[in-house]
């Protein structure tokens, strides 16, 4: 089906993009999540503002303790190692598992996070890696930890006219381990359940995150207990989400177990 009519403006730079968004407009980058909604006419913006060419969003900055990946970096660029991966391959592997290659060639890291589909890969992976979202808006720039950036299904901390410019991924310390596991019925589908586990003792970062819950990723409150095997994953999830039926969490418990195995075995 064809999209309803809209106008399209490609922003020249960040300041230009901010001005265009303040005039009213829906930001778009790779159009891989918004596109289907446009074509199905579930979304009818008056105007699209294309951010995919903004030089500020296409930058990759390597720093001593982190890498800043511009929001308009594509999944394929991360998969292929064209964009620096501070984790030594964890980002590349996650990128390679997103949808299909033809989608990864246009879809962007920032677009995926700002769209905030609860089952999306970057939403859970970046939360698991203790990444930080860098935002620029009318009030200036600010930093938001990923766990506070996604606030619900398709909902983020982005304010009016604010743009996600980059994602800062910390460099893991020596001996750090990582586990990411997702369950999808078919290759390329959105996950039915997912989990990410980071064991980075040198940097003091231990994290167990569960995704594809229909809400923002869940950070379990005793990652050390889970990682050291003192806490049962099923028990931890049931305690964190007491209102959910046990059978609805079964896949997520499995995802968490497998991510834990990958990060500790």
């Amino acid at each position: 089906m064809k999209s309803a009519p809209f106008d399209y403006l490609a922003a020249d730079d960040l300041a230009d993009a901010g001005a265009l968004l303040r005039e009213g407009g829906k930001p778009v980058a790779g159009n891989q999540s918004l596109g289907p909604m446009l074509n199905l006419r579930l979304v009818r913006p008056g105007r699209l503002v294309d951010l995919s060419g903004l030089p500020e969003l296409r930058r990759v900055e390597e720093r001593e303790d982190c890498v800043r990946l511009g929001a308009a970096i594509t999944h394929a660029e991360i998969e292929d190692g064209e964009a620096a991966d501070p984790t030594g391959g964890w980002l590349r592997a996650a990128a390679a598992g997103i949808a299909y290659r033809a989608v990864r060639n246009r879809g962007t890291l920032g677009g995926s996070l700002a769209h905030a589909d609860p089952a999306a890969d970057w939403v859970i992976v970046m939360t698991g890696l203790c990444a930080t979202a860098l935002l620029a808006g009318p009030e200036g720039a600010r930093r938001v930890p990923l766990e506070d950036f996604v606030t619900g299904p398709f909902a983020t901390a982005l304010g009016e006219g604010e743009i996600l410019t980059a994602v800062e991924v910390p460099r893991p310390g020596r001996g750090a381990r990582w586990g990411y596991w997702k369950f999808a019925r078919q290759v390329g589908e959105f996950a039915k359940a997912s989990a990410a586990v980071l064991v980075d003792r040198e940097a003091g970062r231990l994290r167990c995150a569960v995704g594809a819950l229909g809400r923002q990723p869940l950070l379990l409150d005793d990652p050390a207990g889970l990682i050291e095997g003192r806490v049962d994953p099923g028990e931890a999830l049931r305690r964190a989400l007491p209102e959910r039926a046990v059978e609805d969490l079964a896949l997520h418990v499995t995802a968490l177990r497998r991510a834990l195995e990958a990060a500790t075995a």
Partner: protein, 393 residues
């Protein structure tokens, strides 16, 4: 409606044509340049039939706006006549019966070309994984996989189409900026609601959603709120009634927004109440004309006394979502939206219950019109909720 002149290199030739901003690349090729080799299957990025090359990389033409391809190098299936690697693939597809009707073939060939040049070591399992984004409905995939394996094993010629460096290109703007603000369902005429209601049995295989709400208010007061349909409706963000309910039957609408999506469901419901047992049911159906999606659902509810000042409301819903919205209506997502909504609704019901008996007719008049920050699913959930709560006679 404005158009933009799109200039790009198409199969090695410079072309320029006016395109509406909403035109995707497949339509631009097919309609403006009569290159009908690019096929459209699902037109929302799932089937892969429209896969072609932009700047040397395979992309979904249906999810690529023509205006975003200014100065790009586009190569469709018609542009590979002289390409030795594609010639090899074509022969192999023929030899291995890798096509029957041919509808998926242009996209299959594009993906196959990318597999051969990018993953020279790919085995059958990897080929299948890479092909997951291209659907074939007739021959099955065995012949296609065999054809690609065959080409990979036979010392394939180097690919002539290679990714070009991603460059920053100035992109002209559309002629005039949009004067119009974002349109929502509200500004559009909606299709008349279906006259009929679904029946209970037909919903037996719908998605089930069960919840328990605890309300900090005396049960009899909560029941007084629950048995006043206009008041209940006014407790639901985005919901409103067309007219006062008659004999438990009501018509109305509910606006729900989820991320960039917004839906306005119009429909009808029937509420049945059993005051003695403090239970009831709502059966309803609604339709969002713009997204051509429908929601039907059944809600059973029962109010229990926890103490003199606290009540427990048990909700059991079955719903079915149909149409384009169902593409995004994963049950976990619907539940989350429903929960966020239910929290607001139960707080509001408790507040009204504590405030005392509702004044006559306040509900319908006070019904909030703002859209909910939820999902399309929420809409469904909402409707279901409304129905449940409203269900009384």
């Amino acid at each position: 409606m404005s158009t933009t002149e799109v200039r790009l290199t198409l199969n090695g030739r410079e072309v320029a044509a006016a395109a509406e901003p909403r035109s995707h690349l497949a339509d631009f090729l097919r309609d403006e340049h009569l290159l009908t080799g690019t096929h459209l299957g699902c037109e929302h990025g799932v089937c892969g039939a429209c896969t072609l090359f932009v700047d040397g990389r395979p992309v979904r033409a249906c999810l690529t706006l023509a205006v975003s391809c200014q100065d790009a190098e586009v190569r469709s299936v018609e542009g590979f006549d002289e390409d030795p690697l594609m010639a090899r693939l074509r022969e192999a597809f023929s030899r291995h019966h890798g096509l029957q009707c041919g509808y998926c073939t242009p996209g299959m060939l594009a993906t196959a070309y990318d597999i051969v040049r990018r993953l020279p070591q790919a085995d059958a399992a990897r080929i299948r994984r890479e092909l997951a984004g291209n659907l074939c409905r007739c021959t099955g995939y065995a012949g296609i996989v065999a054809a690609i394996e065959d080409v990979l094993a036979g010392d394939p010629p180097p690919a002539a189409v290679v990714p070009v460096e991603r460059r920053r290109r100035p992109r002209p703007r559309t002629e005039k900026p949009a004067a119009e603000a974002t349109r929502t369902s509200d500004s559009q005429p909606t299709a008349p609601a279906d006259e009929s209601l679904p029946d209970r049995a037909a919903l037996a295989d719908g998605v089930a959603l069960e919840r328990t709400l605890r309300l900090a208010a005396p049960p009899e007061r909560v029941w007084a709120v629950l048995s006043d349909i206009p008041t209940v409706v006014s407790c639901i963000p985005g919901a409103s009634l067309d007219a006062p309910p008659e004999d438990g039957r009501l018509t109305g609408r509910c606006v729900v927004a989820a991320g960039p999506m917004k839906a306005s469901f119009r429909g009808r419901a029937r509420v049945a109440l059993d005051a003695a047992a403090r239970r009831g049911s709502v059966l309803g159906r609604g339709r969002d004309g713009l997204s051509r999606s429908s929601l039907e659902g059944l809600l059973d509810f029962a109010l229990h006394e926890e103490s003199e000042a606290a009540a427990r409301l048990e909700l059991a819903m079955r719903y079915r979502l149909k149409g384009p919205l169902a593409q995004f209506g994963r049950p976990a997502l619907v539940e989350e939206i429903a929960d966020r909504l239910l929290a607001q609704v139960s707080d509001e019901i408790a507040r009204r219950a504590l405030a005392g008996p509702p004044a006559e007719g306040t509900g319908a008049a006070a019904a909030p019109q703002r859209a909910l920050g939820g999902l399309g699913l929420l809409a469904h959930a909402l409707r279901g909720l409304v129905k449940r709560i409203l269900r009384r006679r």
